[in-house]
Symmetry: C2
Subunit: 226 residues, 2 copies
């Protein structure tokens, strides 16, 4: 376990970490008749974002999402109309925050932490999302990997956030609900907090998370107690 | 569609392309009570091999397989004994070839093509596997990404094969049952053949495969007809 020291800034992942993906899980369940269709699709989306990254190619996260939706329909042998495909991607673009998020962010701001967001989604969808959810004003920066054209967990993505914060990695903490994001942030020397959302787990071969909790509030309490 | 020109050498992916993963799918089905557990596990294994690659870390494919098996047991909320875990990984290490493979390789050798294999698995398991299946003698080289410590589809892995063959990319053809392998090989300029095994599909955002067929024999017939 890495040694904890009070970070000056927290960098939040967005999808699943702040935003509740249940509505898109439900939409996939209704469309494909199995809850695994969402898991399959999202897993392919993450895998192919890295296929692009390691092979020196780049497409936006929604472009990859649409491409791997086609692969998902082939896997489940379930052709979808263009309308249904659009509905699924629309649902993904309009997710609500998890119920614990706003209170947790408020506590962290009141305790004097600088807050920012760093996501694999492009900037325009991030801004729209943060405006819809009313969370935008908690963050001094809403940053996207689209600006460096590689996906998390590439070191370049975390270095983008560190450079915009003007802080060293050990003064910051990446907060995420995905093992791969925790793994990548630790590789550049950031502290990390894993939010153990339903169905998520850490990568056993990576540096363990500095902090772990079930909600943003649980992480906030640990940070404030120090 | 890229223009076809008769390649001098064919480089084969191994897992799923040559080896039939049905026994490990069956073992996961019996262990987790759902056929989706295998898909989840193998998809995580590919995703985390790339997480390691982009974040500048490296573990062997079996080490990653074991780590993500732990994540799979957490996802399905199904703790497994060490014995069952070992059985699953043992099954993975002893897969039989698909029934079409030997005849297809024989046709290709008789037609004068040079043949090699390039896999994400480490060299010792590859050699053992090729010895068990009796396929080893068809290949002039059995090559592993372990020698460059990054995973396919990193360009370094295909360049390893090209350098050992002493050929340029356009004189070779990567043969694989995975969209990501086709995508990566095309990025370094190799010709590609997609074997459309059950449940597999190409990545719609990548360069389309030069050739497509259901079996090694179907690819061989197209190559020999030219």
């Amino acid at each position: 376990m890495p040694v904890f020291s009070r970070p000056r800034a927290l960098v939040f992942d967005v999808n699943e970490t702040l935003l509740d993906m249940s509505p898109v899980k439900q939409a996939f369940l209704e469309t494909f008749d199995t809850e695994f269709a969402f898991t399959y699709w999202f897993s392919l989306m993450l895998q192919y974002s890295l296929v692009d990254t390691v092979s020196g190619s780049y497409h936006t996260f929604p472009q990859i999402g649409e491409a791997v939706l086609k692969m998902t329909t082939e896997f489940f042998n379930r052709p979808l109309s263009e309308e249904v495909q659009k509905q699924l991607l629309h649902t993904m673009a309009h997710l609500p925050p998890h119920p614990d998020v706003e209170d947790g962010l408020q506590q962290l701001r009141q305790a004097g932490f600088r807050l920012a967001a760093l996501t694999n989604s492009p900037g325009d969808s991030l801004s729209q999302h943060m405006q819809q959810t009313g969370l935008g004003h908690y963050f001094e920066g809403l940053w996207t990997v689209d600006d460096v054209q590689v996906f998390k967990p590439s070191p370049k993505t975390y270095q983008l956030a560190l450079s915009r914060l003007g802080l060293g990695p050990q003064e910051t903490m990446m907060v995420a609900a995905h093992g791969w994001d925790i793994a990548g942030a630790a590789r550049v020397g950031m502290q990390t907090a894993f939010i153990a959302r339903n169905g998520q787990s850490v990568y056993p071969l990576a540096t363990p998370a500095t902090l772990t909790g079930d909600t943003v509030g649980a992480i906030a309490r640990q940070l404030i107690a120090h």
